[in-house]
């Protein structure tokens, strides 16, 4: 309990620093590229193209999914997924990677996952902007339900941070954790309903029920419901409660491990 408060306090205290460092790092990453920051949009667009070709035209044959054109349905999921994917893997590596830098300075290590999430945000907003433009061009109407974006955005950040602090600590303690996470994330692309609808897949009910407990599915599905006039987020209260419970549990364990072991990070890595 105290650990969670310690970690949260450190985030709030260093909020300004988190954004400044993330912004700077982002600029530094793309500095050596001719197209620079443009890659943040270009990369996802290429992926959208590939998935549209394979799943939109091949798998779904141009049919609608959940009452929306496939391209819109997929782009919402994919823009959220690409962000979560890079944030999940990035946060997991964040402390281990920066060890050389922080080992000789007094630095609040727990903000490193936040910095990573923050530096991925620009790409997310850019991609989501493109998605909305495409959605409007496909006659998706703006409804009052769009304000649910804020709720699901909070869900997403809370989940990524909780998992991030846990993963980052685990990666320092056990290097293999990152490899395991990488493999899991690769499978999750297909099991979280990013590019094909797991809701009307021919799975046994029990398997589907388990898949829908996945927090990533909850977030992606939520964004879709918000933009494509689905139900309000409180209607499906069961998954809502489960999502927050599992996020809190991850944060609890992550914060505890982090605070317990961070003094020994240099010893251990």
């Amino acid at each position: 309990m105290n650990d969670m408060i310690i970690v949260l306090k450190e985030q709030l205290k260093n909020l300004g620093m988190i954004f400044r460092v993330s912004k700077y790092e982002e600029r530094a990453t793309y500095q050596s590229h001719y197209l620079g920051i443009l890659w943040e949009v270009l990369n996802p667009i290429i992926q959208v193209g590939i998935y549209y070709l394979i799943f939109g035209l091949g798998f779904y044959g141009g049919r609608q999914v959940e009452g929306a054109p496939f391209i819109v349905w997929m782009m919402i999921g994919l823009s959220v997924w690409l962000f979560m994917n890079s944030a999940i893997l990035g946060t997991s590596n964040s402390i281990f990677q920066k060890m050389y830098l922080i080992s000789k300075m007094n630095f609040p290590v727990s903000v490193l996952p936040s910095i990573n999430i923050a530096s991925n945000l620009t790409a997310f907003f850019a991609m989501f902007g493109v998605t909305i433009v495409v959605a409007l061009s496909q006659n998706v109407i703006i409804t009052f339900k769009w304000i649910q974006f804020v709720y699901f955005f909070i869900c997403m950040i809370a989940f990524l941070f909780s998992l991030g602090i846990f993963s980052a600590t685990m990666t320092v303690l056990i290097r293999d954790y990152h490899m395991i996470l990488q493999s899991i994330v690769r499978v999750l692309l297909y099991l979280s309903g990013v590019i094909w609808n797991i809701k009307d897949a021919n799975f046994p009910v029990l398997f589907k029920a388990i898949l829908e407990l996945n927090p990533i599915f909850y977030i992606i599905d939520g964004f879709r419901a918000a933009l494509l006039s689905g139900d309000w987020f409180w209607v499906d209260y069961q998954h809502l409660i489960f999502f927050w419970a599992i996020t809190l549990l991850t944060f609890f364990v992550g914060a505890h491990l982090h605070v317990k072991f961070r003094a020994r990070f240099v010893d251990l890595s």
Binding site: N14, E25, A28, D200, K208, E212, Q238
Partner: protein, 429 residues
């Protein structure tokens, strides 16, 4: 009276000599204890360092100098004993904390931002650092292209401009040239005069003499001597002279003896040593304190009772709710899949109604579509596992004919949807 900046009491540092990662992981989660060989880099060191002091730390390789600097800067935790550090610590070690792929300027900015400076403050301090490092055009080159001297100059400039209260220099000046060294010494003297503290770890005794008024001599994890620089260095020089005069075999034997001592050391032995020397009196450690200091420092806290309850409650809640929503999934009215199915059922119903209506109106008679006569023969309710092709085969018609007869089927066929089966045989006869 001068303020104490660093107060160390009976500091020890034990390193585990793991053979592989598995042993390490086991020890992290406390599954295995005391089977791994140990090495004690510090064997109970006590000292006070005051403000405005420049303290040199000397000693031969492996005597624990760097361990001390790492413990003071909180890079690694001590195993037992207490350490009190009052003020901001900044460490300079060769090439430490520089990212090779970034340029010198970028490194400066990144470091400064990570120290919590705002962009405006960074702009100011950046110029000062660049001027002090004096790297010329190289400041905009990646650090990986720097020579070791340039690296240490950049590192020194960054560290000293962080405005620390305690500056630890870990053998970082040995690679700089004379001009830069002179500049550093000037800066450090200025530092000292401002009441700040410098801890100077070095092999270059000349540098120690020039800068430090007090010196600590570390010897295989023990603090061998602590006193005025001239005195300690005289003894240290005498020792190294004697040591170097030994034959190679004798030297190795000497080293081995001390190394073995460091392996066989434990906190009980420290207790025995304290009984025989006067360290406890010197630092005014009473028995109660001694007992505390001889206990291992726990890294991090365990979970409190309250936290355990929260943890278990969360865990139970997740499991309960998870299983509940899995088991109730099929009939939960709010479940997205069920909702989707319900919506689908409405569509199917609507389309079926339309189909039946069409059937009662026009399909009762023969009808001509695309030059083919159609008459309704049967109605078929789409079942699980069916495909259009299968149904067509069943009634001996072509897929295309079936499709033409059912224009109401838009997109994918849904379960329970009614298909009209045209009678094409009739027309052939």
């Amino acid at each position: 009276m001068k303020k104490v900046k660093v107060r160390a009491r009976l500091l020890t540092k034990e390193f585990d000599l793991f053979k592989n990662r598995t042993e390490q992981i086991k020890s992290i989660f406390a599954l295995k204890k005391d089977k791994v060989p140990k090495f004690w880099a510090l064997k109970g060191v006590s000292f006070d360092i005051y403000e405005g002091e420049a303290v040199g730390i000397v000693g031969i390789n492996g005597s624990g100098k760097s361990t001390i600097s790492n413990v003071i800067s909180k890079v690694i935790p001590q195993t037992s004993g207490t350490l009190e550090v009052n003020g901001k610590v900044s460490v300079i070690a060769i090439g430490a904390g520089l990212n090779g792929r970034l340029t010198g300027r970028e490194n400066i900015r990144l470091k400064a931002l990570m120290m919590g400076l705002t962009n405006k403050q960074v702009d100011q301090v950046e110029e000062q650092i660049i001027e002090f490092a004096d790297l010329g055009a190289f400041i905009d080159q990646p650090v990986k292209n720097y020579s070791s001297g340039m690296r240490s100059r950049l590192g020194f400039s960054i560290a000293i401009h962080q405005n620390p209260d305690i500056l630890i220099i870990d053998e970082a000046l040995s690679v700089g040239d004379q001009t830069f060294y002179q500049k550093c010494i000037e800066k450090m003297v200025e530092f000292k005069n401002n009441g700040k503290t410098i801890i100077f770890v070095s092999h270059a005794l000349g540098q120690v003499e020039a800068l430090c008024d007090r010196t600590i001599w570390m010897h295989y994890g023990d603090l061998r001597e602590d006193g005025p620089t001239s005195e300690v260095l005289a003894h240290y020089r005498e020792f190294t002279k004697k040591f170097n005069a030994l034959s190679v075999a004798e030297r190795r034997k000497y080293q081995q003896k001390f190394k073995n001592n460091q392996t066989a050391f434990n906190l009980g032995k420290l207790d025995q040593r304290l009984a025989s020397d006067n360290e406890t009196e010197d630092f005014q450690i009473d028995d109660k304190q001694k007992k505390m200091l001889l206990k291992r420092t726990k890294t991090g806290q365990g979970l409190s009772f309250f936290s355990w309850i929260i943890f278990l409650a969360l865990m139970a809640f997740c499991i309960f709710f998870g299983t509940h929503s899995v088991t109730s999934f099929a009939h939960d009215p709010n479940n997205p899949t069920v909702v989707a199915q319900r919506k689908l059922a409405v569509v199917v119903k609507r389309e079926n109604k339309a189909a039946k209506k069409a059937n009662s109106n026009s399909w009762s008679q023969n009808q001509k579509i695309n030059g083919t006569n159609y008459r309704i023969k049967d109605m078929y309710s789409f079942q699980k596992g069916d495909t259009m092709q299968k149904i067509a085969d069943k009634y001996h018609i072509t897929f295309k004919q079936l499709q033409e007869a059912n224009p109401q089927v838009a997109g994918r066929i849904k379960l329970g949807q009614i298909l009209l089966i045209p009678d094409v045989q009739h027309e052939k006869k």
